[in-house]
């Protein structure tokens, strides 16, 4: 059998250098010295080992991690030419034991079932992996729209974009709205910093999302489809457009789709222009209509009056990607995973100070500890885990004491965080929680559309207070003022952005009040992160007088000549940390 070489060309793989690896593989094959077919796939979720190269031979498959041009030459020479597997580089395989196999062992891949296992630009490969089987089954068995909705409802799937509203119910509302024009929209405006599962899905398996939309359109009798995708995701947009062309050619889109009388649908990609608030349904609709993306009052809900004032249903990318699986395999195949109120699986993006950053899909109800330590491999440099931010700027942080919290909608909400789209940013002891709260407020303050007074001005005032605290100018009563403002913003905002913007502040105050107090009362940053509150000092016993710090100091504030104990002039110190980083004798202390 001719061997296959498959290079992972998702956005993060390319950022890690997969493009060069692919080009090298191409040129090696062109030399004629090697017998192999070269193919591409997308992200398999193992971002920390990118670039990944998979070799398939007669025995099975081998995924090689951390590849570069040099290792690739070795791989060609050994594995491709001489059938010698380089075990040291294999991260996962069905033949031998890869040293990262545990990363996959704890996962259940439903939404990500095809990501990294096929060429996302080939509809034939997608079909070979059961793409469009669900809509074919609907057409062949004449499954009624109501039955489809019932299956989705029975599966228990809830909106994966963060709201957690039961998808089946949402579809029923849209179906019950009477109109000759209806729209189905896929929300791919993944603006939550720290989450990238939607990008990965669109890049890795666009057909799953399209099929989910087609099934949804059939169920609610939608006549038009829109995918609202971030312009920051050029590769996702490109692959979506390829997939759409292929689906049209194959008759999955168009008139009387798969022979279903009167089922006409086409779908278009609409590029977002960069506004976090457009993740909110009514703001997204305004944006598709070509206006400023500002939310409006609900009711009327989009299910009654949405795009162009017609009934509209909006679901998230991950929700749609699950639908074909549910329809094809039945509700039970999905709801056997999960907890009583949160069914199925959820994709999480593991980032921050974690060893194994990447995408994982796990059944609802596993604990945060399992995700971070068993799949994520723990904290970088084995530092101490401090907190994890769930739900991005709308969410909150979960401290170490709650690390055994199960990830389902209700347990996460009980901590003050939200499930959100599934971004998990891990923080260690060097992350300052006050600075983190400031960071998120800075984000929401900038992204507030300005419609509601409390969101517009309240977030600004909160940011000012937080900035003051991190600059060592915090005052007695600041914490209480922050809490009061938070409540007012929550009560006085129309949409989710404002209603959740104070969450990062509230949860950090709840779990890390002592850090706020240290900043305000003692003018000290326990995580040694807030520059204005740091003091650098020479430890006389350790100083050898090597002059390295004095040479490195950009402000020239370190005095001392060779073989003499040095001294930092505090007035002139700009707290850049160069002396601390440069000292070879641990003779600089920071507090």
């Amino acid at each position: 059998m001719k061997k296959q070489i498959i290079v992972g060309l998702g956005s993060c793989g390319i950022a890690a250098g997969a493009g060069k690896v692919f080009a090298k593989a191409q040129s090696l094959i062109e030399t004629g010295n090697f017998e192999a077919d070269l193919k591409q796939t997308s992200c398999i979720g193992m971002c920390y080992k990118e670039p990944l190269v998979e070799v398939v031979d007669e025995k099975g498959h081998y995924i090689y991690g951390d590849m570069d041009v040099k290792k690739l030459e070795e791989l060609f020479e050994k594995h491709i030419k001489n059938n010698v597997v380089i075990e040291d580089y294999v991260v996962e395989s069905d033949v031998i034991k890869g040293h990262e196999s545990h990363y996959f062992a704890g996962q259940v891949k439903i939404a990500l079932r095809n990501c990294g296992y096929m060429d996302p630009e080939s509809i034939e490969e997608a079909e070979a992996r059961k793409a469009y089987q669900a809509i074919r089954k609907i057409a062949a068995d004449k499954v009624s729209p109501e039955e489809v909705i019932q299956t989705v409802f029975d599966s228990g799937i809830r909106g994966r974009g963060g709201g957690g509203f039961p998808t089946g119910l949402k579809w029923r509302f849209a179906r019950n709205s009477q109109s000759d024009e209806k729209y189905i929209i896929c929300n791919a405006d993944e603006g939550d910093p720290g989450a990238f599962m939607d990008r990965s899905l669109l890049e890795g398996d666009p057909h799953a999302v399209l099929e989910g939309m087609i099934i949804g359109a059939y169920a609610m009798k939608a006549t038009g489809g829109v995918i609202y995708c971030r312009a920051e995701y050029p590769l996702a947009i490109k692959r979506l457009n390829i997939a759409l062309m292929q689906a049209r050619t194959k008759g999955y889109l168009g008139k009387n789709i798969l022979g279903i009388e009167g089922f006409d649908l086409d779908i278009f990609v609409k590029e977002g222009a960069g506004a976090f608030v457009c993740g909110e349904e009514t703001a997204l609709i305004a944006s598709v209509e070509g206006e400023r993306g500002m939310p409006r009052k609900r009711p009327p809900f989009p299910a009654e009056r949405g795009l162009w004032n017609k009934p509209t249903n909006i679901n998230n990318v991950e929700t749609f990607a699950n639908i074909p699986y549910i329809v094809l395999n039945g509700a039970d195949a999905y709801n056997k995973y999960g907890t009583e109120k949160s069914k199925g699986t959820k994709v999480f993006a593991l980032t921050g100070k974690i060893k194994h950053g990447g995408l994982v899909e796990v059944p609802m109800g596993v604990s945060i500890r399992e995700i971070i330590y068993d799949l994520g491999g723990g904290i970088q440099e084995d530092k101490k885990f401090k907190a994890v931010q769930l739900g991005g700027p709308s969410g909150g942080c979960i401290p170490e004491s709650l690390i055994d919290t199960k990830v389902d909608y209700d347990s996460v909400n009980a901590t003050g965080a939200i499930m959100g789209s599934g971004g998990m940013v891990v923080m260690d002891e060097t992350t300052c929680m006050v600075d983190m709260a400031r960071f998120f407020l800075n984000f929401t303050q900038e992204e507030s559309c300005g419609k509601c007074t409390f969101c517009r001005i309240g977030t600004k005032r909160m940011l000012e207070i937080l900035t003051r605290i991190t600059h060592g100018e915090g005052k007695e009563g600041d914490i209480e003022l922050l809490q009061e403002l938070s409540q007012q913003i929550k009560d006085g905002s129309l949409c989710g952005l404002g209603q959740t913007a104070p969450n990062p502040v509230l949860t950090t105050i709840k779990y890390f009040r002592d850090e706020y107090e240290a900043h305000i009362k003692d003018k000290r940053c326990p995580a040694k992160n807030c520059k204005a509150l740091l003091t650098y000092e020479v430890i006389p016993e350790n100083c050898t007088g090597c002059t390295v710090c004095a040479v490195k100091c950009p402000s020239g504030c370190i005095d001392g000549s060779r073989k003499e104990i040095h001294f930092i002039n505090q007035e002139a110190c700009i707290k850049c940390g160069e002396c601390f980083a440069g000292c070879n004798f641990e003779a600089i202390r920071v507090y």
Binding site: A15, P193, S448
Partner: protein
């Protein structure tokens, strides 16, 4: 807040002459289509790197789009620019994951390498330095994007080196 998010640049940038007829195909493509405002502006920006004043006027005259609607949209969305940019655009990611991994240091290093502040263009017109919310490559944090190329697992030195490399290529060409 989005009303004031476009900072007025204090840099004295000479606004170059633009060949405004380039936008005719865009006008033809979107004429009379509903919801066309954002794609039209995106198309114009794709041509010039920003939306020139002349384009607003032409779109108003030939497509009937209202100036205040266009200006409202162009200042609302982060993507649109109203002044010319450098040949290469450097987007430093300041998403959560990158922030936790010291993205500020990347911006600082680039500021000193380029000699301009965040949001500004170098005098030779080669680079514009920008901060963006999230590029979606979180597990390679901190990251930056120069034009369409993404650089991951950065530190200040690596970022500066990448810029030096592009500058070197540019000077060889010219």
């Amino acid at each position: 807040m989005r009303i004031s998010r476009k900072k007025i640049s204090l840099q004295a940038v000479e606004i170059p002459e633009v060949n405004i007829s380039l936008i005719n195909p865009i006008i033809q493509k979107y004429q009379g289509k509903k919801g066309n405002l954002i794609p039209v502006l995106q198309g114009v920006q794709g041509l010039y790197g920003y939306v020139p004043r002349e384009a607003f006027i032409k779109l108003n005259e030939e497509m009937g789009l209202k100036l205040n609607d266009m200006y409202g949209v162009a200042t609302f969305y982060a993507q649109f620019r109203l002044s010319p940019v450098g040949k290469h655009i450097i987007k430093v990611c300041h998403g959560t994951a990158c922030h936790v991994q010291s993205a500020t240091k990347i911006t600082e290093a680039l500021e000193s390498e380029l000699g301009v502040k965040d949001g500004h263009t170098t005098e030779d017109g080669l680079f514009t330095l920008e901060s963006v919310a999230c590029l979606g490559c979180c597990s390679l944090a901190p990251v930056m994007m120069v034009d369409d190329e993404t650089f991951g697992s950065l530190n200040g030195k690596k970022a500066a080196r990448a810029i030096k490399e592009i500058r070197r290529r540019e000077t060889q060409h010219s």
